[in-house]
């Protein structure tokens, strides 16, 4: 099947099944090089963000995903390689000369945007976990990348950890205003600021 058509069908299907509404708060969809970073509670999270983007942005955006999950079986391999163009990271074997950050930078070149989940693994609670340092090292090497915080709401109820079949509840994807790594900002301060940016989007939802 035509890859572009398959992409659009999959995006529509994901939007319907997750009942996702999409909001951009102080932020606009753009094809410039960006890093979308979000909270992570479900295997469907990369698909959620990917399908929430407008088609012309979606074509240029590649999720970073776990190799062990997305290479299991032909369906997942097809989705990851052909449709999302996922950048697969080996979580078990992290080699010194082949760090994930270098791999990501090589893969995106000066063309693609990224979707990544700085918490590392999926969280089971409602709280957002501590961010791993990968985001910081990525920005250190590519300070020109625009960072867009994204909050995904309710996915932990649609497909919680350890479940295979989703329950079609309603969810919401919120994109926030861009931020950058500031000159001389320490790793811990930057990661805390990035995490707070995602958390604040959740609160905007709760007030609405």
């Amino acid at each position: 099947m035509d890859t572009n058509l398959a992409r659009n069908i999959l995006a529509l299907l994901a939007r319907f099944l997750s009942g996702a509404s999409v909001r951009w708060i102080d932020s606009q969809p753009d094809t410039c090089q960006r890093v979308y970073f979000a909270n992570h509670t479900s295997h469907l999270d990369p698909i959620m963000i990917w399908s929430a983007l407008p088609p012309r942005v979606r074509m240029l955006t590649r999720p970073v995903a776990a190799k062990d999950y997305w290479t299991k079986g032909p369906v997942r391999r097809y989705l990851a390689n052909q449709l999302f163009g996922a950048i697969l990271i080996d979580r078990e074997e992290i080699k010194v000369h082949q760090s994930p950050v270098d791999l990501i930078i090589r893969e995106i070149g000066h063309h693609y945007s990224l979707i990544l989940f700085p918490e590392g693994g999926r969280q089971s609670g409602r709280e957002i976990g501590e961010f791993k340092s990968g985001l910081y090292y990525l920005c250190k090497k590519r300070p020109d990348l625009e960072l867009i915080p994204v909050h995904i709401d309710n996915m932990n109820r649609i497909l919680p950890r350890g479940e295979v079949l989703p329950v079609p509840m309603l969810s919401c994807v919120t994109f926030g205003p861009p931020l950058w790594l500031e000159a001389g900002e320490t790793k811990n301060r930057f990661l805390a600021r990035a995490r707070e940016a995602v958390r604040s989007l959740k609160e905007i939802r709760d007030e609405g």
């Binding site: 009942g19 509404s21 999409v22 909001r23 709401d153 309710n154 109820r157 919680p160 479940e163 079949l165 989703p166 329950v167 079609p168 509840m169 309603l170 969810s171 919401c172 939802r205 609405g208």
Partner: protein, 324 residues
């Protein structure tokens, strides 16, 4: 099923005239600078009129395409309403698999049974079999915290959003008496469903309109501050008159006009009961509309809560009266 018989077309014509009149009133009120009507109220009314156009178009299209399409349309509305209900309701991870079966087995099954007209099955499959399955499946998941509360929440969602609403398309499967000249009444089911949706939506709107009178006696201030005795009585009397005026379009035509009037009054009272029940749930969860719960959604449940409560009562009254 035949939508092209003169009675059905007259009924659709009457609805078009009513909606057109509503549009003109809204347009005139927005234009007139001297109007002392609150802009927010006018905006609410305008959005509602637009929602009715969509509802009318969808219903007319579905009825035109036949019973199967109509049942599928109501099935999708039920599915979406249940989504909103369960999203609002706090469930625990232990309820996940129960919810899966509720959404993907019991909801479609109910509408398949309605579509095939199996009255003996669709009237019990949810209140007996699904209601036994839900607590048993939650118990199997091994989480006993607030067990009865969680069971009741899922049962209530399934009952209101799926079981009750499915009685609206079930109207199409009723056996109707022949027309005056002994011809079979082929469009009767369609008109019955149309009459029901029309009266339910009108009673919503008229209760709201009457409650805007300056004298306000709020019925249950702790639950809903917009539902007043003036709204309930004024709205019910108004739709009773409208129902009586539409008696020629219903299968009650063989009898006196007061049958249609009584049915309209029942729909209005049940619609009120549905609205106030949903208000109580929303108050408890601290939201104003099911629609604002997840930003950007229309709030299907806000529009169909009166239909949910009125459908089974209207269905049973009609069935009992037609068979007696």
């Amino acid at each position: 099923m035949n939508i092209f018989d003169p009675l059905t077309l007259s009924l659709i014509g009457a609805v078009l005239v009513l909606l057109g009149a509503a549009e003109v009133i809204v347009w005139a009120l927005r234009r007139s600078p001297a109007s002392n009507i609150d802009a927010a109220i006018l905006e609410t009314f305008r959005l509602r009129v637009h929602a009715w156009w969509i509802l009318l178009a969808a219903l007319a299209a579905a009825l035109l395409l036949g019973r199967v399409v109509t049942v599928v349309l109501f099935g999708l509305i039920s599915f979406w309403a249940l989504r909103e209900f369960i999203t609002l309701t706090p469930t625990r991870p232990g309820d996940h698999r129960t919810l899966f079966w509720v959404f993907f087995l019991f909801t479609p099954l109910q509408f398949v049974l309605v579509g095939t007209g199996s009255y003996g099955l669709y009237s019990i499959v949810i209140p007996v079999y699904a209601f036994l399955f839900i607590p048993a499946r939650i118990a199997l998941a091994g989480d006993y915290k607030r067990f009865l509360e969680r069971t009741a929440k899922i049962q209530a969602g399934l009952l209101i959003c799926v079981y009750c609403l499915s009685h609206a398309p079930a109207l199409l499967t009723l056996k109707l008496p022949p027309l005056a000249d002994e011809l079979p009444d082929t469009g009767g089911g369609v008109r019955l469903l149309f009459f029901f949706v029309l009266i339910a939506q009108l009673s919503d709107a008229l209760q709201y309109a009457w409650s805007q009178l300056p004298n306000k006696h709020v019925i249950v201030p702790a639950i809903n501050t917009t539902r007043t005795w003036e709204g309930l009585l004024g709205g019910t009397v108004s739709v009773t008159l409208i129902g009586a005026g539409l008696w020629w379009a219903t299968p009650f035509h063989g009898s006196n006009w007061w049958m249609a009037a009584a049915m309209a009054a029942v729909i209005s009272l049940m619609g009120f009961a549905g609205g106030i029940t949903m208000s109580a749930i929303k108050r408890d969860r601290g939201v104003r509309d099911f629609g604002t719960l997840v930003e950007g959604h229309g709030g299907v449940l806000d529009r169909v809560d009166s239909l949910c409560f009125a459908a089974p009562v209207f269905f049973h009254c009609t069935r009992w009266w037609l068979s007696s």
